[in-house]
């Protein structure tokens, strides 16, 4: 039988989705269901003097109007917790509905429940709130200065944490001894995730059974169940069932535990009837955790040949008004640890100050810390190439960790598992015909007209955070293993249960491929169940590109356990010793005697009948694995962008986008390429268009798709992809992860290309997004 691992089989998820039969959270309707609408603060920072709900309560069709006081008085814990603790982290309370102070535009102030969506919205307008506006601050570098508005009294100067990694004195010494220094000051622009399905929750509390069923837009139903129980609702964990049905994209935004789903659940508990809440787009953009938003100074020490001797980074990371679930981890352990990039850097020191501001909380958004790190490193390397007069490809080559140096210990804690960085670079340069592009660039520069820019991003990615004990020692209030259960039915067909929870990644297809491949059966005989805390064993969910490497590995190990048990049964039936049993193509036989074999279905039937099992063996054929990986995995690659810049208007046109990625072994090439395409588009979006902007009063002025530009079909191009394969040495599948690689690499590749085009004007750095006006101004300032 041909292997199904590594083949592009079509997704089994699709028939429902292309015919409108996929069920997303807002698609569910229950008898007696009511609708919730949330009143949100229009102020960035204000004291709540008084809330008058009378008008709203009297509106026909309204069944309940509640404020933060009501939540407090109901006796539930009523808060949103943080899931990652750093040393000396300030953890101010985050009530699910504000009680006395609002701290960002969008902070929940009251909730209305009504018989109809429209009436609920009408009632929100009838609540009158007397606010006393307070001074506010939105910029992280400004928030730490004397006299800045204070977001929380318990965090002086708005500092939530002050974190360092690396060796400060060794790095200082490297800088003191290095003949060349290059420096950039940059801002990593703030992003809004924009999963096209807005967040939604349908909560059904049964007052007789005192249990809650909660359908919600979740990337990790068990985390949501845990936090709902512990911090928000106070219901025992076994009395809560969280179901993630079809989930319309996440990109990180559906990892976090937010107030809104807790408010919806709490309302259902008050009313004893089902309550549904679905964010509008403007609500989603105010309340979904935002991404990025760093203010950074970074410098590189080099010798005269472009060999990197040291790296020093200082970052102010905006955390928003409250600590979101993994907010503290993103700009620290997912950022500082990645600063060695693909390079052998002998000394690194990084300091990150996490800052509260009067903005929407900031947390993981596709890439989460790693795109920010890649941007710092890849920009610095390009600036160094520019200043030292070395070709950008060549300076990278001179600094790569060589293929024979793995496992490679960086100066910032990580130990890279495997890689061949120059291999990917060479392949990308060849695909692009790099020399010809450079020549065309020279010709264009000489002849005038539109400028050509070529940008490289040789990136490293770390996915599948692990092992749990290490992650725990760094502050995670969560484990980072994953569950996978394989049940072989008496007929030999299989149901697989995974704690990983997809929202577009195609787990049902790829996880079936993993198990079918291992068990030697057809993937159509394997059903994959996910996204329901009452069905699947506890698991940590889908984020950080961990599903294949951690969740997939759990299923691989479970499949192997099935085979082991199958061998013992086969040995018993064939009257041979277990050591002599071979399993191949779904059949068990004695080595050398393939004609006399038992298929997996026969073994499964025997296991269930239990008429003739080895002495002491339990009946049944199922295996559960809680797989805790020994290390992260480290995908890598080279992305190369070619752009054209119109010097008259500053407009950028993408001409080509090439990517050579190494994500280890590939389960389904079609799906891997799809993940890369989407990731690349999001990275291009950050580089050229996307920007969450707050005005001086803390109003989000790009909170609608009218102002915030996510890439549309006509704004991007077809991508040219290729791969190298360096299997991960420490997991049973040899896979690394692919969900975020595109985003991690792309912003830097595009920004480097645009800035490369502007080299004749002496421009060394520009911040993203590289809008036409920003480019035009920089050209203008530099004399044209």
């Amino acid at each position: 039988m041909a292997r199904v691992f590594g083949t592009s089989i079509r997704r089994r998820e699709d028939p429902a989705l292309i015919t409108g039969r996929g069920k997303f959270t807002d698609d569910f309707k229950l008898p007696n269901m009511a609708y919730a609408a949330i009143l949100r603060s229009p102020h960035a920072h204000a004291r709540i003097r008084k809330i008058d709900i009378d008008g709203a309560s009297r509106l026909p069709g309204v069944v309940g109007v509640y404020t933060g006081r009501d939540v407090q008085e109901s006796g539930v814990p009523g808060v949103v917790p943080v899931g990652w603790l750093l040393p000396n982290l300030k953890t101010p309370d985050h009530p699910i509905i504000a009680t006395d102070t609002v701290r960002y535009v969008g902070d929940a102030v009251a909730v209305v429940v009504a018989e109809d969506r429209y009436v609920a919205r009408d009632a929100v307008d009838l609540i009158s709130v007397d606010y006393e506006p307070l001074p506010s601050v939105t910029d992280p570098a400004r928030a730490v200065q004397e006299g800045a508005a204070q977001v929380h009294s318990e965090a002086p100067k708005n500092i939530a944490f002050d974190w360092t990694i690396g060796d400060e004195s060794k790095t200082a010494e490297a800088f003191n001894n290095a003949p060349r220094h290059v420096r950039v000051q940059l801002r990593n622009n703030r992003l809004i995730p924009h999963a096209i399905e807005p967040r939604s929750a349908l909560a059904d509390f049964n007052p007789a059974r005192k249990d809650l069923t909660l359908w919600m837009t979740s990337q990790n139903p068990h985390i949501h169940r845990l936090l709902m129980s512990l911090a928000s609702l106070g219901l025992p964990e076994q009395k809560i069932r969280v179901i993630a049905p079809e989930v319309g994209g996440g990109f990180g935004s559906k990892i976090h535990h937010y107030p809104d789903e807790a408010i919806t659940s709490w309302c259902s508990m008050q009313l004893g009837r089902p309550v549904k809440w679905t964010a509008t787009r403007s609500e989603a953009n105010l309340s979904d955790a935002h991404g990025r938003d760093h203010v950074t100074e970074a410098e590189l020490a080099l010798d005269d040949n472009g060999r990197i001797l040291g790296l020093r980074v200082q970052t102010y990371a905006n955390l928003g008004a409250y600590l979101s679930t993994f907010g503290p981890a993103v700009p620290t352990y997912l950022y500082g640890t990645l600063l060695s990039g693909e390079y052998d850097i002998p000394a690194i020191f990084c300091r990150v100050v996490g800052v509260f501001t009067n903005t929407t909380p900031v947390d993981a958004y596709r890439g989460a810390g790693r795109p920010e790190a890649t941007f710092v490193v890849e920009r610095l390397v390009d600036v160094a190439a520019h200043e030292l007069g070395i070709d950008p490809a060549e300076i990278r080559r001179r600094n790569f960790v060589p293929p024979d140096a793995f496992p490679f210990q960086t100066q910032v804690a990580l130990q890279y598992d495997s890689g061949n960085y120059e291999g990917a670079l060479n392949k990308a340069l060849e695909m692009a015909d790099y020399q010809a592009l450079r020549q065309e660039q020279e010709e264009r520069r000489a002849n005038g007209g539109k400028l050509l820019g070529i940008g490289l991003s040789t990136y490293i990615e770390a996915c599948g955070l692990a092992p749990s004990a290490v992650v725990g020692s760094l502050g995670a209030q969560a484990g980072q293993w994953e569950s996978g259960e394989v049940r072989v039915h008496p007929t030999g067909s299989v149901t697989v249960y995974t704690g990983s929870s997809p929202h577009g990644q195609g787990h049902e297809t790829t996880f079936a491929q993993i198990v079918a491949d291992r068990l030697g059966i057809d993937p159509d005989q394997v059903e994959v169940i996910h996204g329901d805390t009452d069905k699947v064993p506890f698991g940590w969910g889908t984020y950080g590109s961990r599903s294949a490497a951690v969740g997939g590995s759990a299923l691989a190990v479970s499949s192997d356990k099935i085979i082991e048990k199958g061998k013992r049964i086969a040995a018993h039936l064939l009257e041979a010793s277990v050591e002599d049993i071979v399993f191949e193509d779904g059949k068990f036989f004695v080595r050398g005697v393939p004609d006399k074999s038992h298929g997996i279905a026969e073994i499964a039937l025997q296991a269930h009948l239990a008429h003739n099992l080895p002495e002491g063996m339990e009946p049944g054929l199922r295996a559960t694995t809680f797989y805790d990986p020994p290390n992260f995995t480290f995908p890598f690659g080279t992305h190369l962008a070619v752009v054209e810049v119109d010097p008259e208007t500053g407009e950028v046109t993408l001409l080509r986008y090439l990517a050579v990625d190494d994500v280890g072994n590939v389960i389904n090439p079609m799906i891997v390429e799809g993940q890369l395409h989407g990731g690349i588009a999001q990275g291009i979006g950050q580089a050229l268009w996307e920007n969450a902007i707050y005005d001086e009063n803390g109003q989000l002025i790009t909170g609608e798709l009218l102002d915030y530009a996510v890439p549309k079909a006509h704004m991007v191009i077809s991508y040219e992809l290729d791969r190298t394969v360096t299997p991960c040495p420490h997991n049973p599948l040899g896979v690394k992860g692919t969900g975020e690689a595109g985003t991690i690499a792309a912003s830097a590749a595009v920004a480097n290309a645009v800035i490369d085009a502007l080299k004749p004007f002496g421009i060394k750095h520009l911040d993203m997004p590289l809008t036409p006006e920003r480019i035009w101004k920089s050209i203008h300032k530099n004399g044209r």
Partner: protein, 287 residues
């Protein structure tokens, strides 16, 4: 996402629509709804009543009579962009209409709604000014008309009176020896014009420019007619150097600006986009 309540009235004829407008003076007219409904969903507009004129036959249709094309107010952008007579006789209108928003919006959005909404980033207003279109209305006192150059008064304010209905626009057909171009520098999020240049030129038989119009969307609160600059170009051959020099002198007070494109940048864009539109129009005129 959820508009406030309103009274809904559906007019079957123009007379009925006018009568309803008399009875409900605070009502808004609803045609394609593509300007009004988004505002209502964000509750930036909460009209107490809507008069649906979407079925009023008198407001539909494209006709060609004499030297003008008449486009009924309910004609959609898609109908305009694909109409053979418009593409032939007033190609600038088709070119601009094909650039409005996206195909689904063009299938419903109407020219009447678009012009009376008068969004400064909209594509058709500048085109109507550049073509010296005439806007026709009917009110309780009967019919009235205004030149497009006088129709746009201020940001999202027009000469259309609250008791009137926009009937149609009438556009002089393009003459032999003329050329036009609508060129748009688009906002990447909204699709509106950051700077949209509508250019119309005419040459005499000797290749000398007889007429030159250049009107911008997106730069001022209302279409900005660069008539002084154009005046300098009449009598020239509209070669690249002459056009570039003339447009370099474009001046304007208080151009509009936002976080994506400041006022000074929009003025700069006007010089570049305007030049490119004029040169393209000239090239087409010579063809």
């Amino acid at each position: 996402m959820f508009p406030a309540t309103f009274e809904y009235h559906r007019a079957q004829s123009l007379d009925e629509a006018l009568r309803l407008l008399q009875v409900h003076p605070d009502a808004k007219l609803l045609a394609g709804g593509h300007s009004l409904i988004p505002m209502m969903k964000l509750r930036l507009a909460q009209p107490p009543a809507l008069i649906d004129i979407g079925r009023v036959a008198e407001l539909k249709g494209i006709s060609h009579s004499g030297n003008a094309i008449r486009i009924g107010a309910l004609t959609t952008h898609a109908e305009i962009a694909s109409s053979p007579v418009i593409r032939e006789q007033v190609p600038l209108v088709a070119e601009a209409a094909s650039q409005v928003a996206d195909p689904a919006v063009r299938n419903k959005g109407t020219i009447g709604g678009n012009l009376s909404h008068a969004d400064p980033g909209s594509d058709l207003p500048g085109v109507m000014v550049a073509l010296d279109a005439v806007v026709h209305f009917r009110g309780p006192e009967g019919e009235r008309q205004t030149r497009a150059t006088e129709f746009f008064l201020d940001l999202m304010m027009t000469d259309l009176r609250p008791d009137e209905i926009l009937l149609a626009v009438e556009i002089p057909v393009a003459l032999q020896g003329s050329g036009c171009c609508y060129l748009k520098f688009e906002h990447p999020a909204s699709g509106y014009a950051v700077c949209g240049a509508a250019a119309v030129v005419e040459f005499d038989s000797s290749g000398s420019c007889q007429k030159c119009r250049l009107v911008f969307n997106g730069v001022k609160e209302i279409p900005w007619d660069a008539s002084e600059t154009c005046q300098q170009l009449v009598g020239t051959g509209l070669d690249e150097v002459t056009v570039t020099n003339a447009l370099d002198g474009l001046q304007i007070t208080d151009p509009m600006g936002d976080t994506y494109a400041s006022g000074p940048y929009r003025l700069h864009l006007a010089k570049i986009v305007g030049r490119r539109a004029l040169l393209k129009a000239a090239e087409r005129a010579r063809e």
